[in-house]
């Protein structure tokens, strides 16, 4: 009952926010939604399939470039937005067949390498526009309706977040979801119980890539340009930080983590923009925050923020009941 009310409340606030926020706050709100979308995928991959990807930004980039190239080629934006997650997932399937034979730190480095290769290629190839990237991407539109305002993009983004969360929820609750939890603890044990380990890992990898691709697609329509510089390695690390902070393997944790980190970094950015602060303050503060939050959470809240808070609340409730 409490869960239902809380869910409805969150949904109502999410829907009401675009109407009251101004444009600069909406920009933060949209980027927050996009980050949450990718983080849900990272959380699914790390928490349920037990795989670390340091290259999730690559799929974000693939989604963004796909949608941008299609839109510039005259394809309707809706088709581009649908193609973004599909192409991202397809590339994850192709890349994943060799890469997912690796595990642990090997996989982490291989995915990082994949993103570096991709960025380097995107910066050199002709059709991706080189280092300058692709510009003048048309606005997102459905039929005759054109998403010109930031609030339209906010609704689009959070509809995407809702879709991603729904899909993830259904995956986790299904039989394959239980299989995933089993293979995260021990692949050997899972394989002995008849779980097709390789295939399931690949599907989750592709699913998380699709989430990142969808976010990338929306991103390119919102900003109107994509360039290799928009997808640095740090962006992939940022998704890991968000997933770890929120709590791996929890859907809401990913959203909480993305919200907490985005708001924290935004707050510090406005602090750094105050007069008298040195010019390097914004980047220094955001690096420091990512690092300290990541180290602190891994050391002291290994299950993440949301499970820690929820656990404390339920313990308090129990102790009240015991009295």
């Amino acid at each position: 009952m409490i869960r239902l009310v809380a869910g409805l409340l969150v949904a109502a606030v999410t829907l009401a926010l675009p109407a009251v926020l101004d444009d600069s706050a909406l920009a933060v709100y949209i980027l927050l939604g996009l980050a949450a979308m990718v983080t849900v995928g990272v959380s699914l991959l790390m928490g349920y399939a037990g795989q670390v990807s340091l290259g999730q930004g690559a799929f974000y980039a693939i989604g963004a470039y796909t949608a941008a190239l299609l839109a510039l080629g005259g394809v309707p934006p809706v088709a581009g937005l649908v193609a973004a997650p599909v192409v991202a997932a397809a590339s994850a399937l192709v890349i994943g067949v060799p890469l997912l034979r690796l595990r642990g730190h090997h996989l982490a480095f291989a995915t990082l390498a994949m993103q570096l290769i991709l960025l380097s290629l995107a910066g050199q190839l002709e059709f991706t526009g080189g280092d300058i990237g692709l510009q003048a991407i048309p606005q997102f539109s459905v039929g005759s309706f054109e998403a010109g305002s930031a609030s339209a993009y906010a609704y689009l983004t959070w509809a995407g977040v809702a879709l991603v969360m729904l899909v993830t929820h259904n995956v986790i609750a299904s039989r394959p979801g239980r299989a995933l939890r089993a293979l995260a603890t021990s692949e050997t044990a899972a394989a002995s119980s008849g779980i097709p380990v390789g295939r399931y890992k690949l599907v989750v990898f592709a699913l998380s890539a699709a989430f990142a691709g969808l976010a990338g697609g929306i991103y390119c329509f919102y900003t109107g340009y994509v360039a290799p510089g928009s997808f640095p390695v740090l962006i992939s690390i940022q998704y890991i930080v968000m997933a770890v902070v929120g709590g791996l393997g929890t859907i809401w944790g990913a959203v909480v983590g993305a919200t907490a980190i985005t708001l924290l970094v935004q707050g510090l950015n406005s602090l750094a923009a105050l007069p008298g602060m040195p010019s390097y303050a914004p980047s220094v503060l955001s690096y420091a925050v990512y690092a300290l939050v990541l180290i602190g959470v891994v050391l002291f809240l290994p299950h993440g923020l949301l499970p820690a808070v929820a656990g404390r609340l339920s313990r308090k409730r129990e102790s009240l009941r015991a009295r």
Binding site: A113, I117, S120, V244, S283, Y287, L299
Partner: protein
């Protein structure tokens, strides 16, 4: 022919620098089981430190040694964060060292700004069999060779080195005979910092170094270390030299823009081949 020899020797020098970083990774991974993502950071810290110290007028030699010691201290601090707290798993420790690397960005930008910095090394060049080689390149090769010999002596001949090796081969048995594995782990991190710092000090005169150079350094170092499955130093050295020569040849013969892809592609292929040879059970139990 002389161009080929120049590329070869330059490549060996680049490979030696990679080997130093990779050997730091191997030392830390052998003893603690942790892959240290901040390994490239040590080199960057040492390089930037050295450029500052030289800029302040300190003589050569002193500045280099001081910078390497600072890197060793950075290694020790990283170790404290990564394995200082009991019950930290290897993968958590990897994520922590990732955090340390990002934290170092913040510190480095505050102290040194975000522009690349360089430092003077050994000037001049010598002619070897008709090929012109910068003296600094020869210095890199010489120092690396000496370092590997010293490392071999340290691990094979001294009590401390043998204790470290004991932790690497069986941590439980090492504890039983009274070796403090946590202390040894911290020592390994400090040694890793030292090796990384050495690489940084040697490389900075060759190519300018900035706060985010560490990604290239660590990726190359890791690529070399996977040749030796992150445990065997000699194969790591061979891998690093191969990588350095391959990259320099690629750059020399006109594929310079694809240098990074070659290194990374090679690394992924080696890892996949290795993973195919080991059954999943042995990988999970470690």
């Amino acid at each position: 022919m002389s161009a080929f020899l120049t590329y070869l020797l330059n490549g060996l020098a680049v490979g030696c620098a990679i080997a130093l970083i990779a050997s730091g990774l191997v030392v830390i991974h052998r003893v603690t089981g942790v892959v240290n993502f901040a390994q490239g950071t040590f080199a960057v810290v040492a390089g930037l430190c050295m450029s500052s110290l030289l800029g302040m007028g300190l003589p050569h030699g002193l500045s280099e040694v001081a910078a390497v010691l600072v890197a060793a201290l950075a290694g020790l601090l990283t170790g404290l964060a990564a394995i200082g707290r009991r019950g930290t798993t290897a993968l958590s420790a990897l994520i922590i060292t990732l955090g340390v690397g990002v934290l170092a960005y913040a510190v480095e930008i505050v102290l040194w700004g975000d522009q690349p910095r360089s430092a003077p090394g050994l000037a001049g060049s010598v002619i070897v069999a008709g090929a012109r080689i910068q003296t600094q390149h020869l210095l890199v090769i010489g120092v690396t060779a000496a370092t590997f010999v010293l490392l071999a002596l340290f691990f094979g001949r001294t009590y401390l080195g043998k204790a470290l090796t004991a932790c690497a081969s069986n941590p439980y048995a090492a504890r039983v005979v009274g070796i403090d594995t946590r202390l040894m782990g911290l020592l390994a991190f400090a040694l890793g910092g030292l090796l990384g710092g050495l690489a940084g000090v040697l490389v900075t005169p060759l190519r300018p170094i900035s706060f985010d150079t560490d990604v290239t350094l660590i990726v190359n170092g890791f690529a070399a270390a996977v040749f030796g499955a992150l445990t065997r130093p000699v194969i790591t050295l061979a891998g690093a030299l191969l990588l350095g020569v391959a990259e320099t040849m690629a750059a020399g013969y006109g594929y310079g823009s694809h240098q990074l892809e070659i290194a990374l592609g090679l690394m992924i292929v080696v890892m996949i081949v290795q993973a195919g040879r080991r059954p999943a059970v042995t990988q999970e139990s470690t």
